[in-house]
């Protein structure tokens, strides 16, 4: 594996392998010495063109637990002139000797552009590109689901037959896209629930069923209910009339939460709009995996950094 740009390109075997390596990484977090010397001689760069304390910190912890040198490079895309930002920044990083670049950018495809440009030699890890993909988020979500279902017997297993329902602004969500491809690859059944304005117009080729009735979806039952963050600004582009109406029809209210089966996981990639797409009671319940998702994020990111960076250059295809 040379880069991690998307879950669309991950086959089942590679995906399960990443989840299994993450199990080993998770074990490190339970030890007294929460560090491995594995990437001691490597440099990882966090190249964040979009603000994101949560994801950036997660990658930072992951890199440090592997003893890598970490450089945080935050370039706010809007203030840098068009066209210069990505290329010039990338070449500066090459000069710094980066072995891996974790990139978050507001343009879909930016990670692929960076990886294929020839501007840098490092492994590229997509931490979120526009509305396209956020592969480590999907991996940590899959890891979380797998652990909740199979516990200590998770190693080597996929998500065959697991039902996952994703609710919210699918159209603008890279988390949704990455999850759709990965969960389907791992054998899960994926359903999308959203107002028609927030679903892509053409879902041909997507391995999902889609609809707009959240109550019907809950009545049919689901093993995991993944709530996506809603941005209030979408209201002004006429995607929905008011946040109140959105919440009434597609929010995980207390009332809907009560109708969930007791073993249905409630998931959210964060940050949450409590009271909008998810009620406080749902978010803080035992069914909520929100905090595990954060912890698992570090393990997944450690696994991916290890797999991308530890081996020799000639070993990469």
């Amino acid at each position: 594996m040379r880069h991690l740009l998307s879950t669309r390109d991950l086959d089942r075997e590679t995906a399960v392998h990443i989840l299994d390596v993450a199990e080993d990484m998770a074990e490190v977090a339970t030890r007294e010495v929460r560090k491995l010397p594995t990437l001691r001689d490597r440099t990882v760069v966090n190249l964040f063109f979009e603000d994101s304390t949560r994801t950036r910190t997660s990658f930072e912890v992951a890199a440090k637990r592997l003893s890598a040198d970490l450089i945080n490079f935050s370039a706010k895309g809007s203030s840098v002139s068009k066209g210069e930002s990505l290329k010039d920044t990338a070449q500066t990083l090459a000069a710094l000797g980066a072995d891996a670049v974790v990139i978050r950018h507001s343009s879909s495809g930016a990670a692929q552009t960076l990886a294929e440009s020839g501007w840098i030699d490092a492994a590229v890890l997509n931490a979120g590109d526009g509305t396209h993909e956020h592969p480590t988020q999907a991996l940590l979500d899959a890891f979380t689901i797998r652990r909740r279902i199979h516990g200590a017997g998770s190693r080597g297993r996929d998500l065959d037959g697991v039902r996952v329902t994703i609710v919210g602004d699918i159209l603008h969500s890279r988390v949704a896209r990455s999850n759709v491809w990965l969960l389907a690859t791992l054998g899960a059944g994926v359903r999308l629930v959203s107002p028609a304005t927030l679903l892509p117009a053409d879902l041909t080729g997507w391995p999902v069923t889609a609809g707009s009735d959240l109550d019907a979806a809950i009545a049919e039952g689901t093993d995991a209910l993944m709530m996506l963050r809603i941005q209030g600004e979408r209201m002004h582009a006429a995607y929905f009339p008011t946040t109140a109406e959105y919440s009434r029809h597609w929010g995980l209210t207390d009332e809907r939460f009560a109708r969930l089966a007791p073993d249905t996981m409630v998931m959210h990639p964060g940050p949450m709009n409590r009271g909008l797409e998810i009620s406080a009671r749902a978010a803080d319940s035992a069914q909520s995996t929100v905090l595990e998702q954060v912890a698992n994020g570090v393990s997944i990111r450690m696994a991916v950094l290890y797999l991308l960076v530890a081996g020799g250059a000639e070993a990469h295809a």
């Binding site: 950018h105 440009s117 890279r174 117009a201």
Partner: protein
Amino acid sequence: MSRNGIRVVGATLPDGRRTDLFVEDGRFVESLTDPASARHIDADGLQALPGLVDLHTHLREPGYEASETVLTGSRAAAIGGFTAVHAMANTSPVGDTAAVVEQVESLGRDHGYVTVRPIGAVTVGLAGERLSEIGGMATSRARVRVFSDDGFCVSDSLLMRRALEYVSTFGGVIAQHSQDPRLTVGAQMNEGALSAELGLAGWPAVAEESIIARDVLLADTVGARLHVCHLSTAGSVEVIRWAKARGIRVTAEVTPHHLLLTEELVRGYDPRFKVNPPLRRSEDVEALRTALADGTIDIVATDHAPHPVESKACAWDEASNGMVGLESALAVVQLAMVDTGLSGWADVARYLSETPARIGMLDGYDASFAAGSVAQFTLVDPTASRKFDVADLRGKGTNTPYAGRTLPGRVLATIHDGYPTVLDGELLDAEVVRKSAAGARA
């Protein structure tokens, strides 16, 4: 004194007849008065075409000379077999006054590679609010006949109606870039399953089709001519077909790239394939080819849009829209239409020369090769084949989508106003052409 004679031996005309061609004092003649001093061109196996006329080019000067100038754009045109180009008005300052269009026309005339016909902006500054001095531009030395806000759509219905009415006063035509701005905010590529997958904001076909539908009805109401730029969807073809069946005076153009390339190329997020209107589905490419062959689409126009390197070496949504096309147009048309059997060379002459000249009201292209006409023609080797490359470009822009692709055909000679601009497959020097142009005017 030299009569600038040219003798072309063994060329094949668009209708298939083999013949010799003679040029003297800038015009086709039955025979040369001074054969000994005439330039000799062996055209055995070559296809002769009337000089190609582009109704849609961006020469970028004044204001964006880093991307292209009238000189470099003219050279790119000549190597592509063109003898006339219509230069869009989205320059800086915008071509919305007699002064700017006269400057562009004069630069083209002095450089001499092609006849440059400036297009005038429909609205001041392309802002879509007030009509520009259409009359002033029409009666200027540039004699503007085509008006367009290309780059932008004249989206306000009232303004479009007034523009159609007003332009007909001067016998001109509005060339509309059909794109409803409200349906394409932030659009990056064709809207469809692929845009959903790639996470790029979609440019829905209806945003083009609905404007065309409105505009043909307006043109019908006020009895004006309408020209539709760069048709890109099967649905747009249907609207044009319907309008023509009703006798509405609408003409339509298609670009070479929309005859060949599809949205699948966007998968790699390579901005060389970013263009407005965007590359669409293979069903659209099929419909456009059929429409060009049957005359529903009247002409091919390049929409040659050069950009500096940094505007294309960046993330997709930061990149500029556009592809250069003058140098490759004929080759792509041959690949998409002639080599597939949809068109013959006579059709190519029609939609790449005679008809665009007619729409743009450009004299001298209605009786190609006839004795007495000003000599505008190009000689092409249709059997040539090459791997197209940035080295084959002659303009300043290097943003071609065809690099690495094998394209057929090669322009070996271009004659503009009776003097050569391209010989033996290569451009003549700027100084030589400038002198020839001055001589032809004398």
